[in-house]
Amino acid sequence: MKELACKCGHVNPEGTELCLSCGRALTKDADSKKTSDVMRYEGMARRSQTYNASIIDKVWNFFSSVKVGVWLILITLIVSAFGTILPQVLFIPPLIPPEVYYEEHYGWFGRIYYMLGFHDLYNSWWYMLFIAAVGISIIVASIDRVVPLYKALKNQRINRHASFMKRQRLFAEKEVADPNQTIAEIKEKLKNKRYRIREEEGHLLAEKGRFARWGPYVNHTGLIIFLIGGLLRFVPGMYVDEILWIREGETMAIPGTDQEYFLESEGFTVDTYNTDEDSEVFNDTIDRVGSIVKNYQTDAILYKREEGGIAGDQRELIEEQRKAIQVNQPLKFDNFAVYQVTYKLDEIRSMSFTMDNKATEKSVGSFDIDLFQPQDVYELDENHKVELMGYYPDFEGFENGEPQSATPVPNNPAFLFNLFSPENPEGEVSFIAIQETLEPLGENDYALSFSGIETHDVSGLTVRKDLTLWILGLGGTIFMIGVIQGSYFNHRRLWLKITEDGKLMAAGHTNKNWFGLKKDIEYSIAGTDLTEITDQFEEKEKKSVALEEKEENDRDSIS
């Protein structure tokens, strides 16, 4: 490896910009660069700028570049925005196939959107690829910088070469009566401002807030932990996302718990705000909008199966807790949470019928059909009975003369009955659906008529287990600590040096918030012989402004 020897005698590794010992610029390139650029990583050699031979070096160098990192961020940003132009496939009505939906609703644009895969952007492999690239960039760029930066700040020398001092943004050089005395005075004041002071042969380095320099690396670590947490989602057993439809009065096994936990619904309620009970300040809105929902609630009882109980056996359930599950108030147990998500009101639970003699118009008896547990035969009295020959919970019409049911949910129940009576010992066939009665085998003597229905509500609950949450929380916390560390604190340094010809030289540097550093230095040197420090950056600016104004004035006077 090539090495760079400095005039002061110190030998630096290749790629170093400022001598590790005295701070002189080692190359012409480093000398001509802006000070803020050189000082960013203390003029240290970084791996990415030293090696470029193998493929690994090239990949490393690619991902270590902040320019590449920013491009990756911007691409991810723009692509993400594209995903919000039309609703994602997740949010479209579930019954319509997406290839139809997008074209039907959004025309040619919708078709292209669907064809390019933007309808499910955030789950696409190429979106994941961008996120992964950002992740790799964060890791590589951080390691590439944090290691040399740590070394540089740990081994900081106190006495810096005059050329290093001169190029700092805040700089002063002055002949004072007793430089050692002045330094001592400034030192005391810097201590008041809680600077850490180190001295060497009369030279001084005051430093504050160095830990702020680690902020970016801390927050990047947090981000990486967060992204890893996101990946763990795909490890089996870490994540459960199920929906549980539960009817009032029903007890069901909670999906994802291996039949260990059961839930009973005691009832579901929807409340709306009303102008009588709720605060009168809401009246205007209620009048304008109509009804506004106040509460969705499932009154639930959680049971746990007894140890050693048989799976699915509901007799051995032990009550664990009672809870009104509301939006924002999930039921929690054993890493699981059960949320109120949706509902269905007034699902038909049972239907009542009476059997009437058509001629006499007299009822001979009545019966109820539980739509979830229908019986085969309903005995009305000694002489009359009804046989349930067929039950079609979600009747949608006939196919080849056979009644069809679309789903097992009783949305539109229909029945095929055989009615037995003394007149018809063999029975009469009757088909009954809502608002429809057929007597397919000829005119009957008896007819069934609806005498009522009972309904119940159904709660739609989401069952969720997410064992990655604590990792995400940890990542998020570390990220926030890092961001605050890096943004709300800054690393301020002041070097004081006695030159060979006995002058006092001062230079100040900070990674951000020059305003704050200037205030600190102004406070520290006030009343000492070193009366002021110059902001070389502002001086330059002022000169150029003055020049411009002069030109302007000249122009004005000419015209």
């Binding site: 990192g69 940003l77 925005a81 605060s279 809105t285 106040k294 951000k512 305003f515 502002e538």
Partner: protein, 395 residues
């Protein structure tokens, strides 16, 4: 309770007027010959900042009385949220003012806050009860943190705008001159919206249309401005109201589009009027105000506000947002448009910081980034709610 609610409205009105007066005083403060550098103490500025603080307290009064009257933090709909955002913009300005004491910041920050508060009052202002999803302490925590973060980030836009007004050479035609004027023009469009909306509201204009929704059902839309475009297969139900022959397809929200068209029309008219009367571009009109601005300081103010605002926004817009989403919506992240746009905002300011910290993007470039950042914030605040439907459409 009703009395408290009306007291609350009065306090908001008082705050609005006070901000207006404070703007005048801030404008006076930068004219003072004695204070060539426009910083430090100065009588006009002292009066201005005092009035600003009283206005801010009055608006805090609005906030808490409204909270008491409704029983929940008043950040539950667009009016409440945008007003709160305007208030926090003033709050952020006050803090930054006490750090740097730059008077000119007030000349721009306060009018923008005024514009935002006026804009918010174009949405329904009555107190409304909370739907179940919003009934949580996280409403106050999440929404207020987001608004504070966004407000601090907006100060970087104000600083950036001032920077550009001074820095961009308006005598040369170019991209920068054009876009700077475009930014100012868009502010005039907002004024156009407020003027139009308020005028038709005062006139009590109303026109009902029956129309066909995208799902094929019939519904009624109430237009508060004369219909330049009518909703899908819309039929006018109000006698004598204006009807345009332009009918929109079902997926377009005709009412929103109509407001946008009116705002652009009236805003453009206003803009042309200003140009006709003054014979100057708006940028050129404002430039004398910033002639003595210290560009370096303005750059520092802008950068500092991003540094302070970014962590706050991240905490509110991503961290608290995820915690609440896990509680209310069962998952911490679900790619809802508002969530995506919060991520976009986060990524944008992350890019801003990286460009600045390690690529040396300072001054002019940094100022432009701050302007773009504000555009993203505004789109997230208004555009996402009005244009893209999602879980956050509460207003």
């Amino acid at each position: 309770m009703t009395q408290l609610a009306s007291l609350s409205s009065t306090l908001l009105y008082v705050a609005f007027v006070l901000y207006l007066i404070a703007t005048v005083f801030f404008s006076g403060s930068i004219k003072s010959k004695k204070h060539a550098n426009q910083t430090g103490k100065n009588r006009w500025a002292t009066i201005a900042i005092t009035i600003t603080i009283i206005g801010f307290l009055s608006q805090l009064g609005y906030f808490f009385t409204r909270w008491m009257a409704s029983g929940h933090a008043p950040v539950g709909n667009l009016f409440e949220f945008i007003t709160f955002f305007g208030m926090m913009l003033v709050g952020a300005f006050i803090i930054i003012y006490y750090i740097y004491r730059v008077h000119v910041l007030g000349v721009f920050a306060l009018p923008i806050a005024l514009l935002i508060i006026a804009y918010s009052s174009m949405f329904p202002r009555e107190l409304s009860p909370l739907i179940p999803a919003l009934q949580s302490h996280w409403l106050a925590i999440h929404v207020s943190t987001v608004a504070i973060g966004e407000a601090i980030l907006s100060i970087s836009f104000v600083a950036g705008l001032i920077y550009l007004l001074k820095d961009v050479d308006l005598s040369k035609k170019g991209k920068q001159t054009f876009w700077l004027e475009a930014v100012l023009f868009s502010l005039v469009i907002v004024v156009g919206f407020i003027v139009t909306s308020t005028s038709f509201e005062l006139a009590g204009y109303e026109a009902d249309f029956t129309y066909i929704t995208p799902t094929g059902e019939q519904d009624v839309a109430q237009f508060e401005m004369p219909a330049l475009v009518t909703p899908h297969e819309g039929e006018l139900q109000t006698a004598g109201a204006f009807v345009s022959p332009i009918n929109t397809p079902a997926i377009v929200d005709a009412k929103t589009l109509n407001s946008v068209l009116w705002s652009i029309a009236v805003g453009t008219l206003l803009y042309l009027l200003i140009r006709l009367i003054t014979r100057k571009s708006i940028a050129a009109l404002l430039q004398p105000l910033v002639r003595r601005v210290n560009l370096n300081l303005m750059d520092e103010v802008g950068y500092r506000s991003v540094l302070i605002g970014f962590p706050v926004f991240t905490l509110g817009g991503l961290v608290f947002a995820m915690i609440w989403a896990q509680i209310a919506w069962t998952r911490f992240w679900g790619w809802d448009p508002k969530e995506v746009w919060a991520l976009i905002t986060f990524l944008f300011y992350a890019a801003f910081l990286h460009l600045r910290l390690t690529r040396g993007w300072e001054g002019n470039r940094s100022a432009w980034l701050a302007v773009i950042g504000f555009a993203i914030l505004m789109f997230n605040l208004i555009g996402v709610n009005l244009i893209i439907a999602g879980l956050h459409s509460y207003a």
